[in-house]
């Protein structure tokens, strides 16, 4: 038995789903090419032995043309048994990679995945005959339910023997395509059937007019509405009753037990009109816990519910087609809408997903746009929750400012940076509707991940803010940066402090801003400034990793300049409009 197993296949064939089945390690699967841009590692028990399993980024060929494909070719060269995951609904296209792998004499076993979907579509494949034609074991699987996975593992050992029997072959891709045609004629039969509803919808939504663009607008508006309604609903029905009915009394009792002092200041915070205030007291256990679990978590759940559905259905690549022309003006192509959309949830996965873009120039533009002009859902939850109380007008100004900044900055970067944006070339997957259970698992996984990553930062951020406040470090910061803020953004010097805390968590920072008693105009400017300047520490780290030092410094410079200009312009125009 080889010491490692590689999952290799075209993009979007179910590798991540199969990886999860094999190893129990949870990974996010989505219905668009490029889900796995970084390899994931896990292990599997084969006959009492632990074997390493690697999920390789999707690749169409063994001659790399994007960063993901480069990683894939490199990993394949490192040896191991290969599970070639093939989409049974589309084996013609998939078999090119299979033949490439076989011709190199590699030990390959073929997982004929999406077997359920193929049956649905009236595609019949004779797996035994295919195995004979290829000279490698072939096992039908349904990765999302686990069907066939046990048999696949059982036949792993046959791959090496089959490879020895085949040997190495030199031929061109043209010859391989001819061979594929010959094999298909023998092993595949298609039942004649009518266009399915999903296919009809698929064709309708890639045709810009009359349907495609209206569909895109409706889908985006509906997504936004679902996030707001579900988020608000969760807060009104679950989180507020819990925090006000159970948590607040508990805090009152705890405060009594602690009896004030420094510990009380840090854990419970200060009283507002003699009472503990969940948003404004600013203790680790009051505001810290409430901001994360009471205000932000409901919106995170709502966001990933909506975006998860979009991802799994396969709509996103169609949205990319609709928006390609617009995105080209920003120096990107349509595909960049996917990282941007993910960035609306959290900038970290958004920036990571920029890997699916081909050129360094595009990755720089996309990552800079995300970190500068795309507010994450944690920040948005606070904008809706806190600033929403000041009226819809304030919220609308913030959103319009961010959107304008996104368009203008993208346009400028496209004009100023050398090079051209590359052309779109992508596969559009069929619409698929995965079982509710699979969607629920994915949502749960993302929520757990959020809680695990954000909790220490939120609680730590509030702790740090309190310590700095008690030690007087804040006054120093306000004295140092305050004058600049007052001069360009028209904010009071104390606003320097929340902006600095924003480096840890933006949601906490908005909470701090709200305690400063700012006017509407100042609050709007401060929030936009906060959203545009430094992204939180976590996105900072991934930016550095993805862009390298040079790109990172460039990107941060652009971000600061944009924030300064945008904040100043907004301040001036709001003043001119007479907003207080």
């Amino acid at each position: 038995m080889a010491d490692r197993i590689l999952l290799v296949g075209n993009p979007n064939v179910g590798k991540s789903a199969l990886f999860h089945r094999l190893t129990g390690v949870h990974v996010i699967c989505s219905n668009y090419p490029g889900t796995t841009v970084e390899y994931t590692e896990g292990s599997l028990n084969v006959g009492g032995e632990r074997v390493q399993v690697l999920d390789v980024p999707g690749t169409y060929s063994l001659t790399p043309s994007s960063k993901g494909e480069e990683v894939a070719t490199h990993m394949i060269a490192g040896g191991g048994t290969i599970i070639n995951v093939v989409d049974a609904t589309n084996i013609e296209r998939n078999l090119l990679l299979t033949l490439n792998l076989l011709d190199r004499g590699l030990p390959v076993i073929v997982a004929l995945n999406m077997w359920d979907d193929a049956a649905h579509r009236g595609i019949r494949i004779d797996a035994a005959a295919l195995s004979k034609e290829l000279g490698a074991p072939v096992v039908p699987t349904v990765a999302v339910t686990g069907e066939g996975v046990r048999e696949l593992v059982g036949k792993l050992a046959e791959a090496a023997g089959a490879a020895a029997g085949r040997g190495v072959r030199e031929r061109s891709d043209g010859e391989r395509w001819a061979e594929i045609g010959r094999i298909l004629a023998k092993v595949q039969s298609l039942e004649h059937r009518h266009h399915t509803f999903a296919e009809w919808l698929g064709d309708l939504s890639v045709q810009p007019l009359p349907a495609g663009i209206p569909i895109a607008v409706v889908v985006l508006a509906a997504t936004f509405a679902v996030v707001r309604l579900v988020g608000e609903g969760l807060i009104a029905l679950i989180s507020d009753p819990f925090f006000e009915g159970a948590w607040l009394p508990l805090m009152e009792r705890l405060d009594g037990a602690i009896g004030g002092g420094i510990l009380g200041d840090i854990l419970i915070g200060r009283r507002v009109d003699g009472e503990i205030h969940l948003r404004e007291s600013f203790g680790v256990l009051t505001t810290g816990v409430y901001v994360e679990f009471g205000m932000v978590l409901p919106y995170i759940a709502a966001f990933y519910l909506a975006v998860g559905a979009l991802e799994d259905s396969g709509y996103l690549p169609r949205l990319a087609v609709m928006l390609d022309s617009v995105m080209h003006r920003l120096g990107l192509h349509g595909w960049a809408i996917i990282p941007s959309l993910l960035g609306l949830g959290c900038n970290v996965p958004g920036i990571l997903a920029t890997r699916m873009l081909e050129s360094g120039r595009e990755r720089l533009i996309a990552a800079t746009l995300i970190s500068t002009a795309i507010p994450c859902v944690s920040l948005q939850a606070m904008i809706w929750g806190l600033i929403g109380e000041r009226g819809v007008r304030c919220v609308a100004i913030i959103y319009v400012s961010m959107l304008l900044a996104w368009l203008v900055l993208g346009r400028l970067l496209n004009l100023l940076l050398k090079g051209r944006s590359p052309e779109l070339l992508m596969e559009i997957p069929p619409y698929r509707f995965p079982p509710i259970r699979v969607a629920a698992e994915k949502l749960a996984m993302r929520l757990v991940q959020f809680v695990r990553e954000a909790t220490p930062l939120v609680l730590g951020g509030i702790l740090l803010a309190n310590v700095l406040m008690l030690t007087g470090a804040f006054d120093l910061a306000a004295a140092a940066f305050g004058p600049i803020l007052s001069a360009i953004w028209g904010l009071p010097p104390e606003a320097a402090v929340p902006l600095m805390v924003g480096v840890l968590r933006k949601d906490v920072a908005v909470g701090m801003l709200e305690t400063l008693g700012l006017g509407d105009a100042q609050m709007v400017v401060a929030t936009v400034g906060l959203a545009m300047t430094f992204p939180c520490a976590a996105s900072f780290i991934v930016m550095l990793r993805e862009l390298g030092w040079k790109g990172f410094l460039k990107s941060v410079g652009i971000m600061l300049a944009t924030a300064a200009v945008a904040g100043a312009a907004l301040n001036l125009s709001l003043k001119a409009a007479g907003m207080e």
């Binding site: 090119l96 192509h333 052309e423």
Partner: protein, 100 residues
């Protein structure tokens, strides 16, 4: 690549750029004008000389061209599509999109 330099182009009246192919019509790719990089990327996705492609949707302006080939759908940027030459198949009801 398919013919001698200077030799007359066979069926010139049936040749179109991919972006000129009308929705619903089918053509066979006869030439890809471009560097190895582009050819390799297209080839790996199953879009190579000799492949039959059916235009699925029309585009607005310079939007991407959506085609179906080998049972899968692809979106190809306008610029890239205009470097792919196809020969339209006989038997179409309407005349070719480009008049001489």
């Amino acid at each position: 690549m398919l013919r001698e330099k200077g030799a007359p182009i066979p069926h010139a009246d049936r040749l179109l750029l991919l972006n000129e192919l009308q929705p619903g019509r089918t053509g066979v790719i006869v030439e890809i004008v471009g560097g190895r990089g582009i050819c390799n990327r297209l080839q790996a996705m199953g879009l190579c000389i000799g492949s039959r492609v059916r235009r699925v949707a029309s585009a607005i302006g310079r939007g991407p061209v959506v085609v179906e080939a080998r049972g899968a759908q692809f979106a190809i940027g306008f610029g890239m599509a205009s470097r792919i030459i196809v020969e339209i198949e006989n038997g179409g009801q309407d005349p070719p999109g480009r008049q001489p």
